[in-house]
Amino acid sequence: MSTQVFSVSEVKRLLEQGAQLVDVLSEAEFEHDHLPGAINIPLKRLDATTAARLDRDRPVIVYCNDFG
């Protein structure tokens, strides 16, 4: 089940606790800029295979560009 966080400080707290950060934007956008420590799984390629890179025992934070 997905929960939502709305502040930078919440994200930082979760990262300190071992959360994984996933950027779901395109490869080109990710290569240009992304949050420190993020991995890239473009939304169009997000499936069981690509998600296998993630550690199932740690929380996963996903983000895109903004609210849009």
Partner: protein, 151 residues
């Protein structure tokens, strides 16, 4: 799974670090100054002028810091009894902090902005200002440094 709704835009608005090719770029959020004077829409021009000293810019903001308008020299020279709201330039052009200096300068030239540009969040909250002179000087300095590195 946790959905970080505001996304990377909000991360950069908080001046947090980035990774990727963009670490070599200068973003206006990296260099904008946050000491620009602000005022409420109901403050009078006379009071504002006394308060801001030598500044030729004052940003009119609401109680949450969201930009409502801009006072430049012409507006600051208006009737001292007028309120900021009565004389301000409403809805000035604003820029997000992850715009590069090159993009900012191009836009300032295209829109004939000669003095300061406002840097805000996507919701319009004021983060700072950058002058055209500072933007041009910073970019020239950076390009000169790159030339020295290349040679």
């Amino acid at each position: 799974m946790i959905d970080y709704k505001p996304g990377k835009q909000a991360w950069y608005e908080d001046n947090e670090p980035r990774e990727g090719k963009a670490v070599d770029e200068i973003w206006i959020g990296d260099v904008a100054g946050s000491d620009v004077p602000t005022c409420s829409p109901t403050e009078t021009i006379g009071d504002i002028r006394r308060r801001i000293g030598g500044w030729d810019t004052c940003v009119v903001v609401d109680s949450k810091g969201v930009v409502l308008g801009l006072l430049r020299k012409k507006e600051l020279d208006a009737d001292p009894k007028a309120t900021a709201e009565q004389v301000m330039r409403p809805g000035p052009k604003t820029f997000r902090p992850n715009v590069t200096l090159e993009e900012l300068l191009k836009s300032m030239r295209d829109h004939e902005i000669q003095t300061n540009s406002l840097v805000t969040t996507a919701e319009g909250r004021l983060l700072g200002v950058i002058s055209r002179a500072d933007a041009e000087a910073t970019l020239a300095h950076e390009q000169a440094a790159e030339t020295r590195t290349d040679s």
